[in-house]
Amino acid sequence: MYVLSALWNVTLVRLPYIKSHCYLRRTLILSSPGRKIARKMSGQSRNSWIIKDDPRLVSARQKDFFVDIIDERRHTSDIGWALRQREVPAYKYNKARSPAEIKNDVLKSDRVKYAVEKIMEESGASLTDVMKEAESIVDEMAHNLRVGVIRGFAIFLVKVMKKLFQRVYVNEEAISKVRTLIKEYPVLLMPSHRSYLDFLLMSYVFFHYDLPLPVIAAAMDFMGMKFFGWLLRNSGAFYIRRSFGDDQLYWAVFTEYVQTHICNGDSPVEFYVEGTRSRTQKSLPPKFGMMSASLEPYFKAQVPDIMVLPISISYDRVLEEKLYAYELLGVPKPKESASGVFKARSILEEDFGNVHIFIGDPVSIRNYSVGSVDRTSHSISPRYIASLSFQEQALIQKLSYDVTLQQLRNMAISPWSMIAAVLLQNLDGIPLRQLVKEVEWLKRQASNLGAYIDYPVNETAEAIVHHNVFTHKNIAKITEDGIVELVSDDSMLVDKNGDNLMTQAAQELMVCLYRNQLLNVFVRVAMVAIPINSCVKDTLLIAELRSQYQLLEKLLNQEFIFMPGQTDQDFDMALSCLTRTCGVIVQDGSVMIKKSTNKYTTFFSQMFEPFLLGYWVMCRYLLSIQNGAHGKPLVKLPKTISKEAQVLSSQLIRDSHIKHKEVLSLDMMNNSLHSLYHLGAVHKEKREGKTYMYPNLVLLSKVTEDLSKFIEVPPMPQTTINMDTKTVVVNAKL
C-alpha cells in the first residue's frame, strides 16, 4: 500500500509534470500502426457533415456499452470539476445523519446494549469499562465521510486516474438505473477485487456521476498508514478487523454499524464478496460474513428490500502485478535500488492501459428469496439478537456465488489475456505471425462462450498484439527476428540455492495472472475436454465423462467459482458447447475420442495443465510424509505443507521434469491442500488451537492416480521411485 501513499506524494509534488506525460503517452499510442492509418485518412472528407471520413473509425470514447469517463477530464480543470455542484440522490426513507451521529446511534442501539450487558454479566466488568471498549471499537471502525474531504479526494483521484490509465470505461446505461435504485432501496455495491485501485475507482465513478459516495468496508491494513488512512476514512472507508472470532462486542458493534447504514440508507455500502484481493486475478470463492450481516436487515424486515449490485472491474494491466507474483511465491519482493518514492514515480510513469467497469444487473434480495425464505421465523424474538435461519444462510451462500459469477461474466477480457494464454503454452517463444493467428482463434472461442473481449475492430490483429506487448514490455517482448517471448528479469536475485529460479518464476507468474483472467471463461469446457483429451480408449461414456468432470470440479473448486449444486447443469452446458462449436462428437451416449481430440480440446486442456500438475506435486509430496512414531502420519501445519511441496516443485523444475514454474505458487499449493481436505484425502486435527493436517493415504493415492491419468506427469527422480515412498529423497532435500 505504500505505493499508493507514495503516489499521493508524487501527485502533490509534481503536478506541473503531469501534463507533459500525458502528451508523451498519447504520442506513443498514436504511433501504433492502426492509429496511423486512421489519422492519415481523416484529412479529406466527402461530405461536410462528416468530420472524420473513416469508415473503420471506432470511437474509443464510446465503445459498445462503455463510455470513457476520463477523457473529458483531460480538457477541463480538475479543481472546477471537483468543486462543482452535485445533485446526489438519496434513499427515500433516509434521515440525514452525520458520521458522529451514526456512531452514537450504534452505541445506543439495542444490539450493542444487549452485547454490553451480556459481557458485563459474564466478565463482571463495569458498564463504563465495557462501553469504553465499545466506543473504542466504533472509533476504530467508523468512517468520517465528509463533503469537503471528498472533493479533495476527488482531485487526488482524477489526477491518479489520468496518470495511470488511458481510459476508464463505465457502462453508462447502468448509471441511471443505479440512480433510481439508490432512491428506492438500500444498495450494496459488490465490486470484483483484483487491485487496491478497485475502491478508488468505485468512488471515482460515483463521484463522477453525482451519486452518493459509498462507504467501504476496508481491511485494517490501510488504517495504519498515516495520511492515506486518514484520507480514506474521511472519504468513506470504515475499517474491519480481518478476524474477530467470538469477540461478542466487536460482532455487535460491527453488525450494527453495517446494518444501520443499510437500514437508514445513509450511503451505498461497498464491500468485496471475495473478502480480499484475488492475487491470482481469478476471483476467490466468496465469503459470507459481510454478506450475512448486510442482508440480515431484510430478513428481519427492517427494510423493504436490499439491492445487490455486482460490479466487474477489469484491468488491462494490474498495478500490483509484480507484488502479486512474489506474494504467490511467498518470497520477499526484491528491493529496488531506489527509494519507495522513486518507485511510485516510476509507477506513475508507466502505462496501465484501460480499465473497464461494468455495473451488473441489480439483484433484489426480495425477489431472489421468494419462495425459499420465510421471514416470519423471526417474529418471536427481538430483532437485535443475531439469528439467521438455515434457509437464509443457504440463500446468502447461493447469492454470494451468483454475485461472483456475475462479476466474472461481465469482465472485459483484454487481448493481452489471450496473448498470455498462448505464450504460456509456448514458453520458448513463438513467432509473431503464429501468435497473431492463435490469438485470433482464441478470441473467437472466448466470444463463442459469451466473454466480452475488448478487441478494437479498427485495428489489425497484429497491431493489437504489438500494442499489448508494448504495454506489458516488462513481461514480454518481440525480438528483432519477430519472435514473441518472455522477458527475463534483469535484477538477478539469487536465492539460497544459488540460482534465480524464483525471479524467473515471478516473471512467468505475472503472465499467468493475465491468462487467469481468461480461464474463467474456459474452465467448464476445459473440464470436459481434459478427460476427453487424456482418454486412452476409443470411446468415453458420457456418464464416465460426467463423473470425471465432477472429480475435476471438486479438485478445482478452490481455484475457480462453481455454483454449488449446479455441477450437472454446468457439465451439460459445457459438453453441448463442445459438441456444437468445437468438433466433439457424441454417438450413442459416448464421446468418440479419436474424432473429438482436436485443437480445441487440446488447447483447452493445456491451459489448465499447470493446475493439475501442481496438484499432483502436492499429492506426491503428501504421500511422502513419513509416519510418526505410532504409525500415524506426522501432522503438519498447512503452511508448512505448502512450503515443503513448493520445495519439491522447485526440485522438479530444476531437474527439468516440469516446465511450468507456475506450480511454485503457494496459493496453488494451499488450494490443492484444501481441495484434498474436502475430498477426504487430507485430514485436519486441532492441537492447542492450531489446525494441523495429515494425509489419508488410501484416498490420496487414489486422487494421485486419477490426476496422473489426466495429464502427463513427470517421472519422479530415480531414487524416489525405487524407494516407492520417496520420503528419503524428498526430505533430504528440504
Binding site: 424486515a301 423493504p304 421471514r375 416470519t376 417474529s379
Partner: protein, 618 residues
C-alpha cells in the same frame, strides 16, 4: 317459490323502541353497498361530491375538496363511470336446495322463516370487495336456501336440533358486516344451507346494576344496545366502527374490538357470560363470576369461532355508567415516526385516552379533503391562520405531517388531567395540540369511508381495508414495508394510476399496536380488478407476517385469510381447534367453512373468485 312465512314475527316491532334495522333489511339498507339507502356520496349537478340524507353530520353537505383530491390521488375521471348492474331478481339467483323433511319439521314449529330471494340475497354475503363486486357485476352461485329468524334461545336450540337431525347446514347471520368472507356459502355445499338470522333476538333481558352487568340477546346491534342502555344511564362502551349495523353475537364470534377499548376493553374483556348453542348442546358456564380458574376458558372456544362451532344466543356484558364528559382532541406531529414514538410512550405510561389513533399523512390529507364546505368566512380565516401557524411558525411539512385523533371519556376532572398528561407527552415528541374539530373529523372519516368506497366503485376504484396487530418495535417498519410492498406490487402488475395507500395506528396496547390499512386503486385498463386486488392484498398480508404482524387484529380469518392460519397458530394449534370442532359439531352443521375448517388451500377464497363472473371492463 316465494312462500314467505310469518314475516311479521311475534314480538319484534311491538316494542316501544323498535330495532333500527328491520327484519326485511332491504327496506332500509342498500342491496349492493354499505349502509342506509338514503345516505351516499354522489357527484351532484355542480360536479361536486355531496353526501345525501339527513342522518349524519356530513349529510346534506358538499365536500368541495373531495373531487379534486380523488382526481389527484387516484386519478379518477368523472367521465369514466362503472355503474352497477340492476338489482338482482329471482332469475339471477340459484334455485334453493330443499330438504323437505327439515322444511316439514320447521313448519311445525313457530319459527319465522323465508325463502324469498331478496331475503336470501341479503344474507349471502358480507362486505369485502369481492362480495360487493359480485353484487355490482356478478352472480352468486351459492346462497342460503332459507332464512330463519329465531326469536329466542329456545328457538335456536330447536333449530339446531332440527338441522342436526336432517343434516342441514347453518350459517349464523348477525349484522352482515363481515369482511372476511365468513358469510359466503361454500360452493361445494350440497346440503340445504339455512341462514340463521339473529336479528329478532334483540332484547336486553335484564340489567344487574349491583354487578354492573346486563344480559342481552345476541342479535342486538351496537347502536340499539347503546341507546337502550343509555336510557337507564349505562353503556357498554363497545364501539366498533361498524356499530351501526353489527351485532353482539357477531362481536363475540369474531373477537371484535371497540374503538374505546382503552377504557372498556375489547369484547373478550367485556363478556362475563356466554350462552352458545352447538350441535352437541348448549355450552355455558354455570356462574357469572369476574374470573374463573377451571381449566381453559370455554368462552375462548367461542370467542372468535366465526360461526364454526355454534350460535351465540345470549351474552352477559359488563356495563358502565354513561360518562360525564366526552371530549375530542388531536395532536399534529411533524411526521408519522414521531407519532408512533409518542403513542408508544403513551401506552408505556398507561395513560391512553378512550381512543387514540395516529393517521399517516395520506389519511390526514384525506380527512382534510372530507371537510364540508364551510359556511362562514371566519372559519376559513381561522383555518388559514392555523395552517400558517403549523407550517410557517412550527415548520411542519404538510406532506409529511401526521395527526393523532383523541377521544377522552370519563369524569370531567379525570378527562382534564388525562388531557394535560397526553399533550405533555406529545410535546416531547414534537406534537402540537391540533384542536377538537380535527379529532372529531378523524373519527367521522372512519364512518364515512365505507360509504366513500361505494362512490369509488362508480369510478373504477377498487378499495378495501385490512388490519393487523404488531409489537411496538416493529410497528413503524411494518407500516413502511407494507406500504412499500403495495406500491411495488401495483407497479409491477401494471396498474396505470398511483394507488391510494394509507395506514393508521388505531389501537395501542402494552406490548404493541393495531394497524389499519386502506388500499385502493384505479383499475381503468385492467382486466380483472378483484382478482388483482386480492393478489396484491395477499402480498401485503405476507409482508405483514414477515414483519412480525398478525393475520388479523379484529376482522377475523373467515375464508379470506384461512391460508395464513396454520402459519399463525401452527399445525398443532389448528389440530387442537379442529378437535374442538370435531367434538362439538361432528356433522359440520355449522358448515360455513371458516377458520380451521376444511383445506385452507382450496378455501372459499378461490371459490369466491370462481363465484364471481365479472365482465372485464376497459
Amino acid at each position: 317459490m316465494s312462500q314467505r312465512h310469518s314475516i311479521e314475527g311475534k314480538d319484534c316491532a311491538t316494542d316501544v323502541d323498535p330495532p333500527s334495522i328491520p327484519k326485511r333489511r332491504q327496506e332500509l339498507l342498500k342491496w349492493n353497498g354499505w349502509g342506509y339507502k338514503d345516505s351516499k356520496f354522489i357527484v351532484n349537478k355542480d360536479n361536486h361530491v355531496e353526501f345525501t340524507g339527513e342522518r349524519y353530520q356530513l349529510s346534506g353537505h358538499t365536500m368541495t375538496l373531495l373531487r379534486d383530491w380523488m382526481i389527484k390521488t387516484v386519478g379518477i375521471s368523472l367521465d369514466h363511470k362503472t355503474p352497477p348492474q340492476p338489482e338482482l331478481t329471482a332469475k339471477d339467483m340459484p334455485t334453493p336446495v330443499r330438504n323437505e323433511e327439515f322444511l316439514a319439521d320447521i313448519r311445525r314449529t313457530n319459527i319465522s322463516h323465508s325463502d324469498d330471494c331478496q331475503d336470501r340475497l341479503f344474507r349471502a354475503h358480507g362486505h369485502t370487495l369481492s362480495e360487493m363486486f359480485i353484487l355490482r357485476e356478478g352472480r352468486f352461485s351459492r346462497m342460503p336456501d332459507l332464512v330463519v329468524w329465531p326469536a329466542s334461545h329456545n328457538e335456536v336450540v330447536k333449530l339446531v336440533e332440527l338441522a342436526n337431525k336432517h343434516n342441514v347446514c347453518i350459517i349464523p347471520f348477525g349484522g352482515g358486516t363481515s369482511v372476511s368472507e365468513a358469510l359466503l356459502c361454500p360452493e361445494q355445499e350440497t346440503r340445504m344451507i339455512i341462514s340463521l338470522d339473529t336479528s329478532q333476538m334483540n332484547k336486553i333481558l335484564w340489567v344487574d346494576e349491583k354487578n354492573l352487568v346486563a344480559h342481552i340477546e345476541c342479535g342486538i346491534i351496537g347502536q340499539d344496545l347503546e341507546r337502550l342502555l343509555a336510557k337507564k344511564g349505562y353503556c357498554t362502551g363497545h364501539e366498533p366502527d361498524s356499530m351501526e349495523f353489527s351485532s353482539l353475537g357477531g362481536w363475540v364470534a369474531t373477537r371484535a374490538s371497540g374503538m374505546k377499548k382503552n377504557i372498556y376493553g375489547n369484547i373478550e374483556d367485556l363478556v362475563v357470560h356466554v350462552k352458545c348453542v352447538t350441535p352437541r348442546g348448549t355450552m355455558e358456564k354455570s356462574c357469572q363470576v369476574p374470573r374463573l380458574s377451571s381449566g381453559p376458558d370455554i368462552h375462548h372456544f367461542i370467542l372468535g369461532s366465526e360461526g364454526t362451532l355454534g350460535v351465540v344466543t345470549e351474552v352477559t356484558l359488563k356495563i358502565r355508567p354513561v360518562p360525564e364528559c366526552k371530549k375530542y382532541g388531536s395532536i399534529v406531529f411533524p411526521d408519522f415516526e414521531h407519532g408512533v414514538a409518542c403513542l408508544r410512550e403513551i401506552a408505556k405510561q398507561k395513560c391512553a385516552p378512550a381512543s387514540i389513533r395516529l393517521m399517516d399523512n395520506e389519511q390526514f390529507q384525506f380527512g382534510h379533503a372530507l371537510k364540508p364546505e364551510s359556511k362562514s368566512t371566519f372559519t376559513n380565516f381561522m383555518d388559514g391562520l392555523k395552517k400558517f401557524y403549523i407550517t410557517r411558525i412550527k415548520g411542519f411539512d404538510l406532506n409529511t405531517m401526521a395527526v393523532a385523533t383523541l377521544l377522552f371519556e370519563g369524569a370531567k376532572k379525570d378527562v382534564d388531567a388525562q388531557e394535560k398528561r397526553v399533550y405533555e407527552i406529545a410535546a416531547q415528541f414534537g406534537g402540537l395540540a391540533g384542536g377538537a374539530e380535527n379529532g372529531e373529523r378523524g373519527y367521522m372519516l372512519t364512518f364515512a369511508i365505507a360509504y366513500i368506497r361505494d362512490l369509488g366503485f362508480e369510478y373504477y376504484i377498487v378499495a378495501e381495508s385490512f388490519e393487523t396487530s404488531v409489537p411496538w418495535d416493529r410497528c413503524l417498519d411494518l407500516c413502511t414495508n407494507v406500504k412499500d410492498r403495495l406500491h411495488r406490487e401495483c407497479k409491477e402488475r401494471g396498474i396505470q394510476f398511483p394507488p391510494y395507500i394509507t395506514c393508521r395506528v388505531t389501537q395501542t396496547y402494552d406490548a404493541g399496536a393495531c394497524v389499519y390499512f386502506y388500499f385502493g386503486f384505479n383499475y381503468r385498463g385492467i382486466q380483472n380488478p378483484v382478482q388483482l386486488y386480492d393478489d396484491i392484498e395477499s402480498c401485503a398480508r405476507d409482508e405483514i407476517l414477515a414483519n412480525g404482524g398478525s393475520i388479523s387484529h379484529h376482522h377475523g380469518v373467515g375464508k379470506l385469510r384461512k391460508r395464513w392460519l396454520k402459519k399463525t397458530v401452527g399445525e398443532v394449534g389448528v389440530g387442537a381447534m379442529r378437535a374442538i370442532k370435531e367434538y362439538l359439531d361432528p356433522q359440520n352443521i355449522f358448515g360455513s367453512g371458516n377458520l380451521m375448517v376444511g383445506d385452507p388451500e382450496e378455501s372459499a377464497h378461490n371459490s369466491s373468485n370462481s363465484n364471481v363472473s365479472l365482465p372485464s371492463k376497459l
